[in-house]
Structures are given as structure tokens and as C-alpha cells.
Amino acid sequence: MDILVFVKRVPDTESKIRIDPATNSVVEEGLNFILSPYDEYALEEALRIKAAKGGKVVAVTAGREESLVILRKCLAMGADEAVLIKDPLPETYDGLRTARTIARFVQSKFPGAKLLLFGKQSVGADNSQVPSMVAELVGIGQANVVVKIEVEEDMATAYREIEGAQEKVSLTLPAVVSAQKGLNEPRYETLKGIMMAKKKEIPVVSIEELGLKPEEVAPRLAILKMDLPPVRKAGRVVTGEAAETARQIVEYLHAEAKVI
């Protein structure tokens, strides 16, 4: 069973974000970049499915050369192959553009792939668009925000998180599945894996090579502005006997803030 895992290079969640107002983009200098955490769950699941069912796991990203680092991490974790779809544009925040690129990649390079795995969102753009869009463009079913999956030969059962409940989804393969935290506990790379990953060649595919016309990948989003959120002011801080501070909290919430 061939499994494709789509991954993205994102700033570490501990990072403080700075903005360049001239370009309306995030200042990359000084940021530590990582494999998006939800993508790690997707990759781990792919490796587990492969261990049980055989086949191969291919990690794919669309981005600039800097993204090769996270593809090496995927290889070090155990992916059999990795591919970089070279995209010259910086972050466009447009899911359709990425989805069209990925859908075309799947159809032209891996038409027999049984599972297309994603993180439920990239940590950063936070769009949650690409998995569903790819499923529609390829014409297959989807299950998003998945916390458990059981894979058979041509079927899979996915448990997807919704508000206060889970939906049990029966999927005909091929299908798109996006991973949520809780799906598994991702493994660490081994030293042997890291050494092997360094030696592996990572093929690069361009958008033109996939036959995508400029109008198909033109962003549908015109960015006007990127801002930092309004800074919250620190309020009152009290200390003292528990009974008294508790009384003060409730008085504040009831009489002043009027939220209870």
C-alpha cells in the first residue's frame, strides 16, 4: 500500500512572531523551523500502517529549498522516499493554490496511492483547507481531524473529532485523512535513520513540470495587511488569604466584568 504524507515547514510553536510591515509577511530571521506537529502524527501513522500492511511511505512538501530539512527529518523517521515540489512563491495563505498543486502531483506521479495523509492544519497558516480541497480535486472521500484509523485492503475506518463527540467514518480507498493530536505518539529519529536520510536523494519537481497553468495557481487571496494582535493590558493582581481572594475574584467577575 503506497501512502503519501504531505508535510510543511513551519515556525516552532514556541516562537514569537515578528512582522515585516513592508512585505506583510513574517520575519523569518531568527525563527526556528520545524516539521508541523500535526504532520508528524500523519507521518507516524503512515509508518505504522506500512509496518502492518507493507508498501512504501513517501513524504512530500510544496515549498522552497529550505523545506528539504523537514523532508530529511521525515526520511530519518522512516519514510522511504521524499519529494520536494518546488514552489517559488512565499506563503500565500491560499489553500486552493496548494491543493491544486498537490492534486496534480498525486494524479501525475502517484496515481496508485491508497492513502493521502495530512496534518489537520499547518501550524501557522491554520487554514484547514488543503486536505478537503485535495480530496475534492482528486475525487475521493475524506476524513479530517482523525484520532484513530483502522486500515484494511480497500477500506478504512477513521474516527474524526467533532464538538463533544466522534464521528466514525467508513472510507473507500483511496482517501484523504488528516491527523489530529491523539492519533499516536510520533517516534524520534534514530542516529542510523539520520545517517541514511543524509545520503538519500530527494527529487525536485517544479510546478511547470506538473503542467499547472499560471492561472490555475494564481492566488485567490490578496493580502492587505499583517498585524500583531492588540496587546492585552495586565490587570489587577492580588494576594492574601484564599477566602478573601476568592471573594475578590467573584466580586470582580459579577459586579465589574459582569460575566457571571
Binding site: S128, M133, Q142, K181, P229, V237, V250, I260
Partner: protein, 323 residues
């Protein structure tokens, strides 16, 4: 026309859908157009008066028994057919589990862009401008969509519900569900025990971090949540990663980004990824024994003290309020 996709649970309209309809109505007024609502499944006509009272001029019913249970592919197909027929300026969804699953599938089907999880809508020179948090709220992105119709999802718990009387004319549409080879079908919905309210939908979130010291102490937070209306229990990443509580309770960058009326943080130091997920709460109260904890920089009201002493006293004070 702005078409709003209405979600129901047990034949009741979700609050997020009423927020959506209210905001659509405000936007439609600015665009000098109407607001319509669309419902999928059978036996929904009884909901039309409530939708009318929140500004729906028309209520479209996509009546087909196979739509009684949610299916992304079928819903995307029937909503796309309605969009092609009505040609609305915009289609609004709630950024709920269903909306986040469905809106991108519809956008791809129509070949247009999607503004997801927006928290501010503005009209400038007759064009819609969207603002949405990125990096879980560490930054805000403002943009326009250059394709039409505009597909938009709005974050729950941000936009107020405003009653406005409208006609609410019921229009029945025969919805054709296409046959597809590769399918995904919801076969069962498994409720979580206790039917707890989700942190993303709660008005009040009572949250605990490493300072809770262990899983058994989350019962204290559940007790407080039990005393307050529409309250849920949240948690920091370290509490979740320690296995003290399920990840669906996690607030922050690899959890949920939320905007409740009140966020009560107990024993949460306030790591940057946690602050990102809750700093748009309307009121924040923090209890922590470390006076230098970063959480106090964003709290409206802070108590430096032992949460295990403050919580029981707080319960008594809240109970007094109810008497």
C-alpha cells in the same frame, strides 16, 4: 444574496449558526442584498421561524433523507448545486468541525478561494475584507478574496446574535445526491461521556495546567465548571502531554484557539503557545503561586496564591451568588 449554511444538532439550530446568520445579515445590509439560510436533511421546516427572526429572508430546504446524516461529499454536491442556481455573492459557514470539513470541499468544487475561520468582516468600497488569526492568534491577516462567489467561514463565539425580523420564506429544493465510487460515510456518532460542552463552544472555560499536579485534581475544575452556565474544562499542553486530560481539552497552538467570555486559568504559567490560544477571551482570570508567571501579563484579574486553597473558597463564593 448571502447564503448561510445552518448546522443543527438533534433538530436544534446551533448557536454558531445564529451568530453566522446575524453577521451575514449585517454584511448583506451593507451590500444592499438579502440573507438566505440553507438546511440539509428532512423535517427541518419547523426551524424556519427562528432563522427568520435572525434575518433570513429565505430558508432553503435541501430535502433528501440521505442528507439526514452528514456526508462531506453529498453536502458539498448539493450546496454547490444550490450555489450555481442562486448565484449568491457569498456563502457563509461556521468554522465548526462540520464547517471546516465542508467549506474547503465546496470551494474546491467551485474553483474559488476560501477565507477560513475569520474573526472580523469589513466592507470597504463595496468589497469584503476578512481578518483571521494566523499562528493561533500570534498574528492577524487581513485580505480580500479575488474569486467569486466568496466562500467564508466564521469563528464561533466571536460574532453576536442579533434578532432582526425577516420574511423567512420556506423554499423546498429537490436535492440530487450524486453517486460516487470512492466514498466516505459517517456510520456512527459516538458521544463523549457526560455530554460535556466543547471548549470551543463554551461561554466559560475553566482551565488547568501543570500546577494542577495530577489528573485527579481536574475534578476540582469540573466542579467549578458545573456551577457555571455553558462552562467547559480546558487544559494547557503540559497537562495534556502528561496524560492528565484528553487532548480535546487542550487550549493553545496545538490545541484549540478559543474566545470565551471568561477564561479561568489555574496553575497555568502562560507559555507563548498557550497565550496565543486564549488571549482573545473577553475576560481572563489567573490563579498561580508564581508571581512572575507570564499569564499575569494577560490576566484582567490575577491571584498569587495556592490554587488548592483558592478553588474550594471560590466554589463557596460562586454558590453564594446563586442563592
Amino acid at each position: 444574496m448571502i447564503l448561510t449554511f445552518i448546522e443543527t444538532r438533534e433538530k436544534k439550530i446551533k448557536k454558531a449558526s445564529l451568530e453566522l446568520l446575524s453577521e451575514a445579515r449585517r454584511t448583506a445590509d451593507g451590500l444592499k442584498t438579502e440573507t438566505a439560510a440553507v438546511l440539509a436533511g428532512t423535517g427541518m421546516e419547523g426551524l424556519a421561524p427562528e432563522l427568520a427572526s435572525c434575518g433570513a429572508s429565505q430558508v432553503y430546504l435541501l430535502e433528501n433523507a440521505s442528507l439526514d446524516r452528514y456526508s462531506t461529499q453529498d453536502y458539498a454536491a448539493v450546496v454547490a448545486d444550490l450555489v450555481k442556481k442562486l448565484n449568491p455573492e457569498a456563502v457563509f459557514f461556521s468554522a465548526t468541525a462540520m464547517g471546516k470539513d465542508l467549506a474547503p470541499r465546496l470551494a474546491a468544487r467551485l474553483g474559488v478561494g476560501l477565507a477560513s475561520d475569520c474573526t472580523i468582516l469589513a466592507l470597504k468600497d463595496g468589497q469584503l475584507e476578512y481578518t483571521r488569526p494566523i499562528f493561533a492568534g500570534k498574528a492577524l491577516l487581513t485580505f480580500r478574496l479575488t474569486s467569486s462567489p466568496q466562500i467564508v467561514s466564521l469563528r464561533p463565539n466571536i460574532f453576536p446574535v442579533t434578532p432582526v425580523a425577516a420574511a423567512g420564506e420556506v423554499i423546498r429544493e429537490a436535492a440530487q445526491v450524486p453517486a460516487a465510487a470512492a466514498r466516505a460515510e459517517v456510520t456512527e456518532v459516538l458521544q463523549e461521556s457526560g455530554g460535556e460542552i466543547d471548549v470551543s463552544e463554551a461561554d466559560i472555560v475553566v482551565s488547568g495546567g501543570r500546577g494542577m499536579k495530577g489528573p485527579e485534581n481536574f475534578a476540582l475544575l469540573r466542579e467549578i465548571a458545573g456551577l457555571l452556565p455553558r462552562a467547559a474544562v480546558g487544559a494547557s499542553r503540559s497537562a495534556v502531554d502528561s496524560g492528565w486530560i484528553g487532548h480535546q481539552h487542550q487550549v493553545g497552538q496545538t490545541g484549540k484557539t478559543i474566545s470565551p467570555n471568561l477564561y479561568l486559568a489555574f496553575g497555568i504559567s502562560g507559555a507563548i503557545q498557550h497565550i496565543a490560544g486564549m488571549s482573545s477571551s473577553k475576560v481572563i482570570v489567573a490563579v498561580n503561586k508564581d508571581a512572575d508567571a507570564p499569564i499575569f501579563k494577560v490576566a484582567d484579574f490575577g491571584v498569587v496564591g495556592d490554587l488548592f486553597q483558592v478553588i474550594p473558597a471560590l466554589k463557596e463564593e460562586i454558590k453564594k451568588l446563586g442563592d
